[in-house]
Structure formats: structure tokens, C-alpha cells
């Protein structure tokens, strides 16, 4: 089961089954402590950095570049989705997918934060023209 971990040296937050041995931010060794989701939320809200829509698009394009998928070439669709992601962050606190409603279970709803793990979803997995549920990411033609 995934849990939240906080580096006690630099407050880096990790969400996973086990903590990283070396903190990727401050390089401290064995520095992670298990914390509650509430603490993770508080720490991340203190240290949150501003990221605008253009930077978000650039970030997901960079993320997709090294993978078997790409950001949807349909720019109009992408801009609509990014608007939704940012509106959800403003209204609901996190960059939730605009095409799936939250359940009000904070940990469960982390699965809806964009980009989600769509590689395991039936709309993508084993599909030649696979895409994430909302269509922000699509499989590369040769992917």
C-alpha cells in the first residue's frame, strides 16, 4: 500500500510503497519518515510553487517525449483540458482530471491527478490507438 513519506532534512514529499533511500532533492540518506496524508497536504501547500498553463503544457510534453505516448495533437482539446485541470486545482486543491469526478476520498482521488497512471487503464492498455480517459495523452503512432 502506498503511503506518504517526508524527508526530515528538506521536507521533500514522496508518495510510494517505500521511501527513497537517497532524497533526490537534498541527497540525504535514509531521511524519510512516514507521515499522514493530511501532513503531506499541509507541507505541499506551504512549499507549492506557481506553475502556469504554458509551463504545465511544456512539462507534460517533456514527460511524454521519452515515453510511448504524446500530448494529443488536437490543440483545442488540450487547451480545454488544461483549463479544466487548472480550474480543478483552484476549486478542489489538486490538478484533477476534468473528465472524472472526485469521490471525496483524498487518497483514492490521488489517482485522478493529472497526469494519471493511464498506462494501466482499459482505454490505453493493449490498444493501438490508446489514450488516457480524457484524451490529453495518446499513444504515439509507432509506440
Amino acid at each position: 500500500m502506498k503511503k506518504f513519506w517526508r524527508c526530515f532534512v528538506c521536507n521533500d514529499i514522496h508518495y510510494g510503497v517505500k521511501p527513497p533511500e537517497i532524497c533526490p532533492t537534498c541527497m540525504a540518506k535514509n531521511a524519510y519518515l512516514e507521515i499522514t496524508s493530511e501532513e503531506a497536504r499541509k507541507v505541499s501547500s506551504i512549499t507549492q510553487t506557481e506553475i502556469n498553463k504554458e509551463r504545465f503544457l511544456q512539462t507534460i510534453e517533456n514527460f511524454a517525449e521519452k515515453n510511448e505516448f504524446q500530448v494529443n495533437p488536437d490543440k483545442e482539446k488540450v487547451l480545454m483540458l488544461i483549463d479544466g485541470v487548472f480550474n480543478n486545482e483552484q476549486n478542489q486543491g489538486l490538478k484533477y482530471c476534468p473528465c472524472r469526478l472526485t469521490t471525496k476520498d483524498f487518497v483514492e482521488d490521488l489517482k485522478l491527478v493529472c497526469p494519471c497512471n493511464f498506462l494501466i487503464h482499459e482505454t490505453y492498455k493493449d490498444k493501438k490507438d490508446g489514450e488516457c480517459w480524457c484524451g490529453l495523452f495518446v499513444r504515439k503512432k509507432d509506440g
Partner: protein
């Protein structure tokens, strides 16, 4: 019909919903869920019915017939939408 304002699938389905309403006289209640908490809670209250059909999630668009609990989610062809509405 539960839909999201910034959901492209929902946007694509709207002309089909209009066509359905014109052709059959059936009126769908269109409830936006990301900017209306009351609608969101209503959708959440149907999770037991929606989850098995929609991959264990509250996906948009979701078409729910509260009379027979028939559900379809996502973009579908007009024929399937009409079949659902007239069942």
C-alpha cells in the same frame, strides 16, 4: 446526464443529445459536476450504480436512467445513446 464543463467527451456528445431530444421528445437533465457541488454530490450518490459500468470511476459524461438504472459512460455512437434512452 452528468457532464463536465471542460470535458471534451461531454462537448462532443452534446450535439447527439440535442438530436436525441429533437427526435424522441425525451429531455435529458444535464448536470454539470465540476462547478456545481450539488450536482457532484448527486453523481457521487449513484456511485454503486455507475462504478461497475464506468471502470470503477465517476467518469464524464455519464448517462444514467434513474428509472431502470441503465448506465453508459463516455463518448458513444448516436445509435447506442438512443437505444439507452428508449429502453
Amino acid at each position: 446526464m452528468f457532464h463536465g464543463r471542460e470535458c471534451p467527451h461531454c462537448k462532443n456528445m452534446m450535439p447527439l443529445v440535442d438530436k436525441l431530444e429533437r427526435e424522441t421528445g425525451i429531455k435529458l437533465e444535464k448536470l454539470e459536476v465540476w462547478h456545481n457541488e450539488k450536482n457532484a454530490d448527486l453523481m457521487r450518490s449513484y456511485r454503486e450504480i455507475i462504478f461497475p459500468v464506468c471502470g470503477g470511476q465517476l467518469r464524464t459524461p455519464t448517462f444514467l436512467n434513474t428509472e431502470n438504472n441503465e448506465v453508459i459512460c463516455g463518448e458513444v455512437e448516436y445509435r447506442k445513446l438512443k437505444e439507452w434512452a428508449t429502453k
